[in-house]
Symmetry: C2
């Protein structure tokens, strides 16, 4: 069994997301050239990536989308019924509130299990399919529920201090929706997705 | 005059954002070791990066934060009064609505000038400091206002088709807040910042 390189793994997981989109559109077959068009990855890279998962859904006339999706999902344990990675949202301003309502989690390997805000009014007013707590209880709930990932959507001002705490409490990764630069030990992965940070990477 | 490598440019622009944070905290001096702690970039990389901007604010006892911030801003034309890059938001659901209200644009090199939604009710109900239009007028307004960047926050389902249109209308870059895989010609930069996409890169 070949070890799958990290970039391949990331592309295949992204490809599974694309395939799910195509299934929902009613598409049946896709060629590696069509995947190239849709993703920007080269035809050769795509064929090589797919070769890692020993899929038997035929590459000569294109891949059967549903089978390819199933094969990738099985390989990386992406199927919906697998144990999901627990995530929390920290900061329930407008962005946090919007994320509470995102329904795409149900097709993913992730699950939102708690939300936090310093303001008890916010946690009482907002509706969510999981409990909302004041930030004071962050440490306790992370430990009780074994939360692995945090979505940071506090104010930019509060973000660095909270990120530092999250790191101490053994969060594995942070999706940073604020535009603050946050600093955590290198064992923790941070993905900066604040609007200004994102625009700066484009420019 | 040395040409500044792209990774250096990106780090320096990110550093400027960090320095602004520190100025707002009232900090005066920072050493390259402290920057290393806050960013995870090595001390050596940081000193080398800063050497590109010929800053005269002393590295032996640390950099004067405000001067360093000014020097980087001057170098990359980041100062607030410079002509800003025009951006629009496409899709005014919960996420788009939250972004409409984000105040951090004023300290950035970017400016939101228009918002779009297919639903005329949304564009009428929502408040923004710039005009909101129905998506039908997207092409016209992008051309009239010379909009360079688009923030995509439509439904996942609508995202691929709209991204394709944005590419045809000469948008330079897209910040993709949806979780759809969007495909555009390689001349256009896409930054995927949807919550599921972001979580997948962490895992």
């Amino acid at each position: 069994m070949k070890k799958i390189p990290e970039p391949t793994r990331k592309r295949l997981i992204r490809l599974a997301q694309l395939l799910l989109q195509l299934i929902q559109n009613g598409d049946i077959i896709i060629t590696s050239l069509q995947i190239q068009e849709l993703t920007g990855w080269s035809n050769t890279t795509i064929r090589k990536d797919i070769s890692y998962i020993n899929v038997k859904c035929g590459a000569s006339n294109g891949y059967k989308i549903e089978e390819l999706h199933k094969a990738i999902s099985r390989k990386f344990d992406l199927h919906i019924n697998a144990a999901k990675k627990k995530c929390c949202i920290v900061g329930l301003g407008k962005i946090g509130e919007a994320l509470l309502e995102y329904t795409g989690f149900k097709n993913s390997r992730f699950e939102l299990v708690a939300g936090f805000d310093p303001n008890a009014n916010r946690t009482e007013i907002l509706n969510a399919p999981f409990p909302l707590y004041t930030t004071m209880r962050l440490e306790q709930i992370i430990k009780e529920l074994d939360i692995e990932y945090a979505i940071l959507s506090t104010s930019d001002k509060d973000a660095p201090a909270i990120a530092e705490k999250l790191a101490q409490w053994n969060i594995k990764g942070i999706v940073n929706y604020t535009n603050a630069v946050i600093s955590v030990p290198s064992t923790i992965t941070v993905k900066d997705v604040g609007i200004i940070s994102a625009l700066q990477t484009l420019w």
